[in-house]
């Protein structure tokens, strides 16, 4: 009569606690997950919900080791966040093999719901396809029709570059080249920026994230690149804008799944988060909250923590909260929800702390994400 294996539901937040993405996910993701568990009441089906977290240090092998240990020894039922695509890519197959659920909020690689999809994975917050379409298309439309990429040389960066290249070409622009730098580990972007400058492209597309984005934007300014060429930050988080300052970031287009100042609901939740964490939530952190909530509800509804049953329930039920409205998880594992194209405000337009974005438009879910048919996921074919 055991409905819950080993008498509890255990969630693991596996994230980058100290590295380049610690700001945009990291401890904030843990806080978000904890709030979700609290909001749910701390218990599901009358049994306690436990939360563990660990630092994968952005290393794929560390991440897969921790996941293995969590599953084999720690009875973890679902692994949350998995910021950085290389760690997510390492953990997903391990989890799937052992029938555990992964809820991706941090990583962007489109292939996680494409050729790399698994039966037990939900890609929750955003993906590269959405970023490329949101930002890429808009920038080309504004006249930025020749591109050069500055790409973090790992699965996420390459996939973002690839997705954006398609969008730029489809919109009639051209891509003049790319400089790929080792990441994590690069802090001096000057030589890559010089390559970008030498290319003569109008737009330098930043296919990177977190601290890399911040550094490359700063150094582009230092080397006098920015006034002549424009930067397109393909994945920019509110924490990045915060550490860059509006002066450096102003005018930049970006695509996001979440902004704290969208409506009353988002403001209410974000203020709570701010009180606990001291920073406004990024879309990743908001996504972690929403995904944990959705998972726990599904366990409740299914009456078991069996992964197949829970996955079925999660797919069945639409997500409707401050993060997403009426959004559904496809057979490929992708949660399709509305995205927002935003523009960074100039300092003079910012009325209060963290008042950084002006929402240019809402991209409806169907436009924001690839259709199920367009995905190379074998699960979606049936």
């Amino acid at each position: 009569a055991e409905k819950l294996s080993d008498g509890k539901v255990k969630l693991g937040v596996l994230t980058d606690m100290t590295g380049y993405y610690a700001d945009l996910a990291g401890p904030g993701s843990v806080v978000a997950a904890r709030i979700a568990v609290e909001d749910f009441g701390g218990k599901v089906l009358g049994k306690p919900v436990e939360l563990v977290s660990a630092d994968h240090q952005l290393k794929a092998d560390v991440a897969s080791n921790i996941a293995r240990k969590w599953i084999d020894e720690g009875q973890v039922d679902a692994i949350v966040d998995l910021v950085s695509s290389s760690t997510a890519g390492a953990v997903m197959p391990v989890a799937a093999e052992k029938k555990r659920i992964t809820l991706l909020s941090g990583p962007g690689t489109t292939a996680f719901t494409g050729e790399k999809c698994t039966r037990y994975n939900v890609h929750y917050t955003y993906n590269n396809w959405a970023l490329a379409n949101g930002t890429g298309r808009e920038v080309v439309k504004q006249g930025g029709d020749s591109w050069f990429f500055l790409t973090a040389d790992y699965i996420f960066g390459k996939s973002l570059e690839e997705d954006t290249t398609k969008v730029v070409k489809a919109a009639g622009g051209k891509v003049l080249g790319a400089a790929r730098y080792p990441s994590p580990g690069t802090t001096d972007f000057s030589s890559y920026l010089l390559q970008a400058q030498g290319s003569g492209a109008k737009i330098v597309g930043l296919a990177n994230a977190g601290a890399d984005t911040v550094n490359s934007i700063r150094q582009a300014e230092e080397f006098g690149i920015t006034p002549k060429q424009s930067l397109a930050g393909l994945l920019v988080f509110i924490t990045d804008v915060h550490s860059l300052g509006l002066e450096a970031a102003k005018g930049m287009y970006l695509t996001t799944a979440f902004y704290w100042d969208l409506n009353d609901e988002t403001r209410k939740w974000s203020r709570r988060f701010f009180q606990k964490h001291g920073k406004m939530p990024t879309m990743v952190q908001a996504g972690v909250y929403s995904s944990v909530m959705h998972y726990l509800k599904a366990v409740q509804a299914a009456g078991t923590d069996d992964a197949d049953a829970v996955m079925a329930k999660m797919r069945e039920t639409p997500v409707s909260d401050f993060f997403a409205k009426n959004a559904r998880i496809g057979p490929d594992g992708l949660l399709r929800h509305d995205m927002y194209l935003a523009r960074v405000k100039a300092p003079k337009d910012s009325k209060q702390p963290w008042d950084y974005y002006q929402i240019v438009k809402t991209i409806p879910a169907a436009e924001a994400f690839p259709s199920v048919e367009a995905q190379a996921c074998p699960l979606a074919k049936r």
């Binding site: 590295g19 001096d188 550094n215 006098g224």
Partner: protein, 288 residues
């Protein structure tokens, strides 16, 4: 085309200036103490952090950091020499390498624990903001300053070591420390001071590097590997040799970045292999 070449060469020169400064400190320590100071990278990192912490917590400006950070790290270095390195005297020099390796892990781990990995930007001081257009590239003023300052310090060190009384002690000690002590020089103190000085030199490089690269706990270990290769190529023969090889390797990397960017991080090691084939003792080295 040539624009890009000059640009990359210039960036190479910046890196080269740091390599030169670091391999110089390494050579000084190795010469006198017979220790390959693996912790050199960590000391470089600590210099940068000291500057950043000074600015963030105490408001110490860049100019003072150039002075104070090396001093602080130098003192730590002296304490290390007094308490730990000294016990290894007379043993195989490999133990010195291993000890300093362990110290590197400790330092990196502590800073990583306290500050994470993503690093901090150290703002370019106001009076060095902006830049000049050289035609082939836009040169940030600070980077020009970094090259100039590093080279000036290298030359000053070279001058002190090759041309002054203090340097004479150092050179004599390198040759025969026992005998120098038999002439009444306090060689143990000299060892301590030299190690402290080497560490301070690394820290100085760290302060200069802080606004160029990010201030991160791992900033030292990536550069120290290249510096070791520089040392193998140059051969620890002379102070001048260390400086010249450091700059040369920086330029070479710049050149490679122009022709074939992916090879730029390996070229120094390839050159190392080639040099070993032709001159096992290195370009400026003496057979021991």
């Amino acid at each position: 085309m040539t624009q890009a070449l000059f640009g990359q060469l210039f960036l190479g020169l910046i890196n080269g200036a740091f390599y030169a400064l670091l391999s110089l400190g390494l050579a000084v320590i190795f010469g006198l103490l017979d220790v390959v100071n693996f912790a050199h990278g960590a000391q470089y990192m600590m210099g940068a952090f000291a500057a950043w912490m000074g600015l963030t917590y105490l408001g110490v400006p860049y100019g003072w950091a150039l002075l104070l950070a090396p001093l602080a790290v130098g003192l730590v270095g002296m304490a290390v020499e007094r308490t730990l390195l000294r016990r290894l005297q007379g043993l195989d020099p490999l133990y010195g390498l291993l000890l300093t390796f362990g110290l590197t892990l400790i330092a990196e781990g502590l800073f990583h624990h306290a500050y994470g990995n993503s690093g901090f930007a150290y703002p370019v001081p106001g009076w060095l903001r902006g830049g000049v257009n050289l035609g082939f590239m836009f040169l940030p003023l600070y980077r020009a300053w970094a090259v100039g300052l590093s080279l000036a310090v290298c030359l000053a060190c070279w001058f002190v070591i090759e041309r002054t009384k203090l340097g004479a002690y150092l050179r004599a000690g390198t040759e025969n420390p026992k005998l120098l002590q038999a002439f009444g020089v306090n060689v143990p103190l000299m060892f301590t001071l030299t190690y402290g000085f080497g560490a301070a030199l690394a820290a100085f490089a760290g302060v200069v590097a802080a606004p160029v690269y990010q201030v991160t706990p791992l900033m030292g270990s990536s550069v120290i590997m290249v510096v070791f290769a520089v040392v193998v190529i140059g051969g620890m023969g002379s102070i001048g040799g260390a400086i010249v090889t450091g700059l040369g390797v920086g330029l070479l990397e710049g050149l490679t970045r122009f022709w074939y960017p992916p090879a730029s991080s390996v070229v120094v090691f390839v050159v190392m292999a080639l040099v070993l084939l032709v001159r096992p003792a290195g370009l400026f080295g003496r057979e021991r």
